[in-house]
């Protein structure tokens, strides 16, 4: 039994952290938040040059053929840096979808570009208020032509391709691979709570697309794909939670009130201890999640849901109470506390709310419980 990353993996973490300190200082995130860019192109290119976008892609498709432990480590560091790049959309979702369902032709066509970062991919799922389900999907796919509107689509303004969840004429669910460089594709920018990550509304009118893989994709297979993404998302959220905790601790140690560091008041120190407890339980659940993902365990649904719920709760709490710990200054535009508060909320709703994952978690528990009985 060994429940820790390997030496090499821990080295990768140090390296990634150093790289992002250098290349993704808060000013980088701030410039995207303040400006009208949808992401930081320069950072994206450097990240691609580091090979991060190629992490889990097999070498035959131009990837590094590394495992999910490495990808989880990168995800955590990107979360800590609140990196303004389409990594989760392109890597956890689009790349994973093509690797999971794509034909070898599709893999040959798209994976090399995704690996090199020249191609940015995303997943287009949400259509309206409430969660998209196999029943309520309204975007259709007939004879290879997709029609309908998806919104919000993370990184939709800059993506080259989108994996679009839609309903086939036969009524079954289908994942359509859409090259977004077509006239029939209409994208409009969507402002969200976190302008440091661009979102779009994408309207498709008889846009040509190819079904991903053999056409029909069972909804449960699609949700299994989201389970995989949920583990990586959980690591990114964990990075946010830990950075918020670290900043709150640093501030609480140097800010004085009533003649003492505010961190010496139990109202603050116990708040921060509470953050630490949530974060370390989330970390341990994330360890189990990535183990289940990397080892192909059949407990992935439970492990992923648990990691996702834990990281969602930890990151929302830490980001919120980090502002509170900073007091008035934490509420200013000038301080970075807002980055974590915005990103934590947006990530908590990407690929499904806390509620959704709580239910998915319990479904897995019921399954185990029934088998045990």
């Amino acid at each position: 039994m060994n429940f820790e990353f390997s030496e090499e993996q821990l080295m990768l973490r140090e390296q990634a952290r150093g790289f992002l300190k250098q290349e993704c200082s808060p000013s980088v995130t701030r410039s995207v938040l303040d400006g009208d860019m949808h992401y930081d192109r320069g950072l994206w290119q450097k990240v691609a040059e580091m090979g991060w976008t190629a992490t889990t892609i097999p070498e035959e498709y131009g990837g590094l053929g590394l495992g999910y432990y490495e990808l989880a480590i990168i995800a955590e560091e990107l979360g800590r840096a609140v990196a303004p790049i389409p990594f989760s959309s392109s890597v956890y979702l689009a790349t994973e979808a093509i690797m999971a369902f794509g034909s070898s032709a599709q893999k040959n066509k798209w994976l090399p570009g995704l690996a090199s970062g020249e191609v940015i991919g995303t997943l287009a799922l949400s259509e309206r208020s409430g969660r998209a389900t196999a029943e309520n999907l309204s975007v259709t796919c007939e004879d290879g032509l997709v029609t309908g509107t998806k919104t919000p689509v993370a990184d939709g303004m800059i993506a080259n391709i989108a994996v679009v969840a839609c309903k086939a004429s036969a009524g079954h669910v289908q994942l359509a691979l859409v090259d977004l460089a077509q006239d029939s594709v209409d994208r409009t920018m969507v402002t969200t709570l976190d302008p440091s990550r661009g979102h779009a509304s994408i309207s498709l009118a008889k846009t040509s697309a190819e079904p991903l893989g053999e056409g029909e994709v069972s909804w449960s297979a699609f949700e299994a794909l989201l389970d995989r993404a949920a583990v990586l998302m959980a690591w990114e959220q964990l990075g946010i939670a830990d950075m918020a905790l670290e900043q709150a601790c640093d501030y609480a140690k140097q800010r004085f009130a009533f003649g003492r560091a505010i961190g010496s008041f139990q109202a603050i120190k116990h708040k921060l201890a509470g953050m630490y407890v949530k974060n370390s339980l989330a970390r341990s659940n994330a360890y189990h999640g990535v183990w289940a993902l990397a080892s192909g365990s059949n407990s992935l649904q439970l492990a992923a849901s648990t990691a996702r719920v834990a990281s969602t709760q930890a990151s929302l709490f830490a980001a919120q109470e980090n502002i509170q710990t900073h007091g008035g200054m934490g509420f200013t535009w000038e301080f970075d506390c807002q980055f974590y508060y915005r990103r934590a909320k947006v990530l908590s709703l990407a690929i499904g709310s806390e509620r959704h994952w709580q239910h998915r978690l319990v479904s897995a528990l019921q399954h185990n419980h029934a088998n045990a009985a």
Binding site: S129, T151, T192, W333, S353
Partner: protein, 401 residues
């Protein structure tokens, strides 16, 4: 116990309703006027008819109305879309301070203009070094002839950029204990040496300012209370602030959550039928209703001549985190589209505005932690934390820098 008006109250309510109906703002009134101008117009109209600051003595432009009558006025006026926020600080917090501490001629001069809305005031208390620890402020006031010379910086000052006057707490003696060396003054915001810089909040808006004082001269007769009595004077303002702020205005509430939960679906059924959604909405309602009825109990106490006590800290302490929680809950109901910020969608934008604004409410006017301490010490009578800054000269209190 009775929620209904007494005959006298009913009669008063009728008078109020009639006057409001006949004198409400028209589109013509609003035409081409800024929010501030409209507010001043409305305030002036109320003032001339004797309906401004009705709780004040007549000599200051009020009508000596009872607490209940004030509530009735607010309820009736609340039925109309009239701007009021510009006067909350001046009329709600500063006027009561002037009534206690200002010299007679200043009361006679300033209070009617506060009531009529002619002059806007701001409150200059907080400083970068004195947030929760308000009394740790450092802005210096030094006597020079009949004047005081002010140097230093204030922060979190609402309305500073268009205020005519302000009240400022300064340190006149750094060699005595923290609370002892403070003095409060009226300051003319148009005086030379005052430099005002807006602060951009994480919401992107700028409701507050930094105010810099460089050799600003204040005549001694503008002093409020004795030299060294500034903290006592400030407490008058703060006690009224707690009444004025309350739960923290409009925003995501149970009504919004209900509306969204009725529109959005979970697993093909309205979200409101989801048991987890119901449990959360119920808990939010318990807080919201509890605060509302707390308010009625407080008013009843006031109307019986009791003074407003520290228990009023509950309004903000419960209200601000509730706002944050409901806002977050509403966004969750919408799933991924909950992050979309579109002003044409009132439901979501109200939720998101509240989500972004709530952290400020949890801090401004006393953080959650300060409010909790106030309840623990002043309501429950629990002992203070050890005070390392007590009984030693202010300039010897540890600052960490």
């Amino acid at each position: 116990m009775d929620f209904n008006d007494t005959p006298q109250e009913a009669a008063f309510r009728t008078d109020v309703a009639d006057w409001l109906a006949q004198n409400q703002l028209t589109d013509a009134d609003r035409e081409g006027r800024s929010a501030l101008e409209i507010a001043k117009l409305w305030q002036r109209r109320k003032y001339e008819a004797g309906w401004a600051c009705i709780g004040w003595d007549t000599e200051y432009g009020g009508r000596g109305a009872s607490p209940i009558e004030r509530v009735i006025w607010d309820q009736e006026e609340g039925k109309y879309n009239v701007p009021s926020r510009f006067f909350v600080i001046g009329q709600g917090m500063i006027a009561p301070t002037l009534m206690v501490w200002a010299q007679p001629q200043h009361k006679e001069n300033f209070l009617p203009k506060l009531a009529s809305g002619e002059e806007i005031w701001c409150q200059l208390f907080s400083e970068p070094a004195g947030g929760s620890d308000l009394a740790a402020l450092r802005t210096k006031a030094e006597k020079d002839g009949d004047d005081w010379v002010i140097n230093g910086q204030k922060i979190w000052t609402s309305q500073a950029h268009y205020a005519d006057y302000g009240i400022i707490v300064t340190r006149t003696d750094p060699t005595v204990a923290k609370h002892k060396g403070l003095t409060m003054f009226i300051v003319d915001m148009k005086a030379p040496g005052i430099d005002i810089k807006p602060i951009k909040q994480l919401t992107g808006e700028s409701d507050f300012n930094e105010v810099y004082f460089t050799d600003v001269r204040i005549p001694d007769h503008y002093r409020l209370g004795d030299v060294g009595q500034g903290w006592t004077a400030a407490l008058t303002t703060l006690m009224n602030e707690r009444l004025a702020i309350g739960g923290g205005g409009p925003g995501a509430d149970v009504k919004l959550a209900l509306e969204i939960a009725t529109l959005v679906e979970i697993d093909g059924k309205p979200a409101i039928e989801d048991s987890a959604v119901r449990a959360k909405i119920a808990d939010f309602h318990v807080l919201e209703a509890g605060l509302e009825y707390n308010g009625y109990r407080a008013i009843t106490a006031l109307s019986r001549g009791e003074l407003p006590g520290p228990e009023n800290s509950i309004g903000k302490l419960v209200g601000a985190p509730k706002l944050q929680a409901i806002a977050s809950f509403c966004m969750d109901l919408l799933e991924e589209s909950g992050i979309v910020w579109s002003d044409d969608n009132l439901l979501t934008s109200l939720a998101q505005r509240s989500y972004m604004g709530a952290p400020g409410l949890r801090i401004a006017g006393g953080t959650d932690e300060i409010m909790t301490n106030i309840i623990a010490e002043r309501v429950l009578g629990l002992p203070q934390d050890p005070r390392l800054d007590k009984g030693i000269p202010f300039n010897e209190v540890p600052t960490g820098n």
